[in-house]
Symmetry: C2
Subunit: 334 residues, 2 copies
Amino acid sequence: MSTKPTIYDVAREAGVSTTTVSKILNNTGRISDKTKQKVLKIMDELNFQPNVLASAMKGKSTYSIAFLIPDIDNPIYAKYMKHIEIHGQELGYNIVMCSTENDAAKEARHIASMRQKRVDGFIIASKFSNVALLEELIQEGFPVSLFAHERPEFSVDSVSVDDYVGGYEATKHLLHLGHRKIAVIGEESYSGRARIRGYRQAILDEGLDVGEELILYSDSTIEGAKYHVGQLLKSKKRPTAIFGYNDLSAIGAIIAAKESGLKVPEDISVIGFDNISLCEIVDPPLTTIDMPVAELGKKVMELLVGKIEGTEKTKQRISLLPKLIVRQSTMPPK
Amino acid sequence: MSTKPTIYDVAREAGVSTTTVSKILNNTGRISDKTKQKVLKIMDELNFQPNVLASAMKGKSTYSIAFLIPDIDNPIYAKYMKHIEIHGQELGYNIVMCSTENDAAKEARHIASMRQKRVDGFIIASKFSNVALLEELIQEGFPVSLFAHERPEFSVDSVSVDDYVGGYEATKHLLHLGHRKIAVIGEESYSGRARIRGYRQAILDEGLDVGEELILYSDSTIEGAKYHVGQLLKSKKRPTAIFGYNDLSAIGAIIAAKESGLKVPEDISVIGFDNISLCEIVDPPLTTIDMPVAELGKKVMELLVGKIEGTEKTKQRISLLPKLIVRQSTMPPK
DNA sequence: CTCTCATTAGGAATCTTTTGATAGTTTTAA
DNA sequence: TTAAAACTATCAAAAGATTCCTAATGAGAG
């Protein structure tokens, strides 16, 4: 027969009831070893696969998790996606990709449609504008975990890199090389602000003053950074080093420097954040702060699946420490 | 009440049967306008959302499509993903990401698990090693479309760029600049071979001979191309131009050339294929063949959804023509 | 030899929606 | 005025699993 076998077929072939088959499937109740082996054998013979839809309707898992991401075009988001998917797979969960394009309406549509499809939980990467929606989700006890950002004002799980420490380490690296005028490109987001706080603190800890005019705000694109750094380099207050709050902005800074006739790192040092694979390709290879995406992905899946399966009860804010990767875009100032 | 309202709640509130509500939901059967308005109003009041699982159990759509992709780390695959997702969203379908890592066992696991979850169809990008599985899927009438590759031996939908023409155009560009010794880096895959066929034909059409020693095979990575091109450049038969079958291998070629002390494009021209965003960032910016990913994504979703919804009956092989994008990595030979 | 208790298996309801068959009502035609 | 046709709306079964509750079986106790 061409149609998929059901629990009924298994029951009939094995000469037992569907109840028994179901119990064996779920490892619940008391079933004698003899019956169990018999049924298991039939299942194998028929190549029986339980219908996830039917079992989900009775309140069981769909083994699907929604992953909301602002824009997969940014290589760091693709990297998130990759590791989330790999670890989801390991734990038996599929990942439904939801690209929000930084659009609150799309966020809402995705959340609604994913709830309709009864996903088991949500992972929300990097940003989320629709706070009320997030609150509602948490309120209703939905398994949710933020990824690569935090919301200190909510009691919500999150897994991210310690952005403050990352910003601190990046700046310290430049300071230790001897730089004194260090510009930073930041973004108006939780992690952007945290990285800048780290930057400030590193400078203060060195007994220096923070030059507010050296703090630039941009979006997370190469173009944005290129523009803002280009403007800065035209002015008198030229820094000897630039800290891009992500690799893309650091690369934008390199391009802007080159266009201004400056050599990197001889005339100006540049450091990034994320450690995307691009870092090794650009000229010069970019010194950066490594975001341990594989570990973050593992942690977030473990945490969320723990919540889904009920083995993990307490809310957690997990923060992994980033690591400095020195390449050739930084050197002592001349 | 905290639980989601069901069709029963709507029926009770509206004083009709669930059958009526269902028919209104699906726009089937004959329902008087009065009842319809009344029920619609109640649905709105209760904020009723039908349970997709239950409706899927009765044989309706799950509005989910599985997208199988070898490795999202390659920027071109992330780009595929992005556009597939966007167009899926427009048509009301969610995309489940399945990363196969070029592993036949993972392919099989994904297919099995996605079938269990009753996805409406499959989009398989770039490669698929498990031919028997693909055949089975097609055999059973499952909506399947290949993306960015073809399987001429099967009757299966596919949407891809015309790789042959792309290879031809890339090579023609180099020939018209005056290059006579053009190396190519290919891959053992349908599109890899097609691009090389285009390369051969362009050379033959120019009345020249193809130098078999200039045809290199590599995987689709920067490192692979770097290694093979490095070897080639050490030998006597140094080409004046290289055609990388994708941008990553072209970039590998640029790196290898630089390491061999050659300047790009002065000493050696390089052209790629795909037009990933990296092309604008590398030094020099890479001349390449643009793969119209947005259009491809649109086409494949339209085609597959047509199959799912039954409005599209005939199998199709859609091929879009690629376009040459000239940047600074190519120039006439010295 | 009978009663109780543990153990194993099954009956039937349930989850939410869809659908083929059917009943009741109204309209049209004769 | 009545039979046939056309609408509307409902009943009940079905999709494939899960689960509460009950029944049957056998072992051990008195």
